[in-house]
């Protein structure tokens, strides 16, 4: 492949990212809004650390501690059979993404309702998280695959094989398939995230919970406008189901 072709492929990816990421984010907002806005969820206990998380600026590095606590809770609940992760989501990439997406959605909704950010900023932030997760997962997965591939030097002449060929020789499958299957885990669907969001809001105060629900409704309304503007551009929308979401 010449450099021009490679640059064209990259340019197509860059262009596509804009439309599809916004569309995916808006779809999730709409689906989560449908599921959550009117549902009564009881507060089990209130925690200062969770309230601090909600009040921190979006993307503050201190958010990570709370995210790791939720990651541990998800894994423990899954092992004990209390809250089972759906098939294909019981891996590190998916668990980290479900927690990141779930907590980010709760926080964005809270901050929109409290007037700390506007709906456009909140949607941008959610949309950024998807990009950040795609970059992180791809980085980690490629690094680990290259480490594995480099162990394959059965014969001196084989050391010159490409990473793809070494992975196939090791019986690990196609490089592209492995990387892309992992990268798509950066986008856990609303159907997977919603049960966790419902569990997560058990540990926030009733007032904050009220704000989250209000913010989720506002985000869904904003998403409706985004989808109405994008639907004609994004060919891959399943139009019939989309119409139901927009009802």
């Amino acid at each position: 492949m010449d450099a021009q072709n490679f640059n064209d492929t990259k340019a197509r990816f860059t262009q596509h990212t804009e439309e599809t990421s916004r569309a995916m984010s808006a779809l999730q907002s709409l689906a989560i809004g449908k599921e959550l806005s009117d549902e009564e969820i009881k507060t089990i206990r209130e925690f200062d650390s969770v309230q601090e998380y909600l009040d921190l600026p979006l993307n503050d590095p201190a958010e990570d501690k709370i995210k790791k606590i939720f990651v541990t809770a998800v894994v423990a609940a899954h092992q004990k059979g209390i809250l089972i992760l759906p098939e294909g989501y019981d891996n590190a990439e998916s668990i980290a993404s479900i927690v990141d997406e779930g907590l980010t959605r709760i926080k964005a909704a809270y901050q929109v309702a409290e007037g700390m950010v506007n709906p456009v900023e909140a949607e941008e932030m959610i949309y950024d998280r998807q990009a950040v997760r795609t970059a992180a997962i791809t980085d980690f997965v490629v690094e680990r695959l290259v480490e594995k591939a480099n162990q394959y030097v059965a014969k001196a002449e084989e050391a010159a094989l490409s990473v793809s060929d070494k992975l196939v020789a090791l019986g690990l499958g196609r490089l592209t398939d492995i990387v892309c299957a992992a990268a798509v885990r950066a986008y856990p669907p609303a159907a997977v995230v919603v049960p966790y969001v419902k569990q997560f809001v058990h540990v926030i105060t009733p007032n904050a919970q009220k704000a989250v629900k209000k913010g989720i409704k506002m985000a869904a309304e904003f998403a409706r406008n985004v989808i109405n503007k994008t639907a004609n551009k994004v060919k891959s929308f399943a139009k019939k189901t989309l119409a139901k979401l927009l009802e």
Binding site: F13, V142, V146
Partner: protein
């Protein structure tokens, strides 16, 4: 032993709030023992926590790019390209193509399912 999701989460948050050092990694190791997590689950907690750290690292990188006037979509493309620097252009190109197509499939799938 906690038997509900809220119980597990409350126990973790309680221990975190009481902990003086707030050393999250050590605390989660202790709690994993207390919950009786298997080696497989402990490894899952460790790897998923590493992803949380990596998300933070990439967030800082994106914020720094924005300060330099670089858009998110351009940052993502360049970051992916850098992460795959050891791969050939053919290999990278195939991955970029698949990621582009994969997003379309994903949108179709979620509008079908939801």
């Amino acid at each position: 032993m906690e038997q509900t999701f809220e119980g597990i989460l409350s126990s973790l948050l309680d221990s975190y709030e009481k902990s003086e050092s707030k050393d999250i990694d050590s605390l989660l190791k202790e709690k994993s023992e207390e919950f009786g997590l298997t080696e497989e689950s402990k490894s899952l907690v460790k790897k998923a926590s590493e992803y949380i750290d990596k998300f933070a690292e990439k967030t800082a990188s994106l914020e720094s790019a924005r300060e330099d006037g670089i858009s998110m979509k351009r940052w993502l493309t360049e970051d992916l390209d850098n992460s795959m620097a050891v791969l050939s252009d053919d290999e990278k190109s195939e991955i970029f193509e698949e990621l582009t197509n994969g997003k379309d499939d994903f949108i179709h799938k979620i509008t079908e399912e939801e």
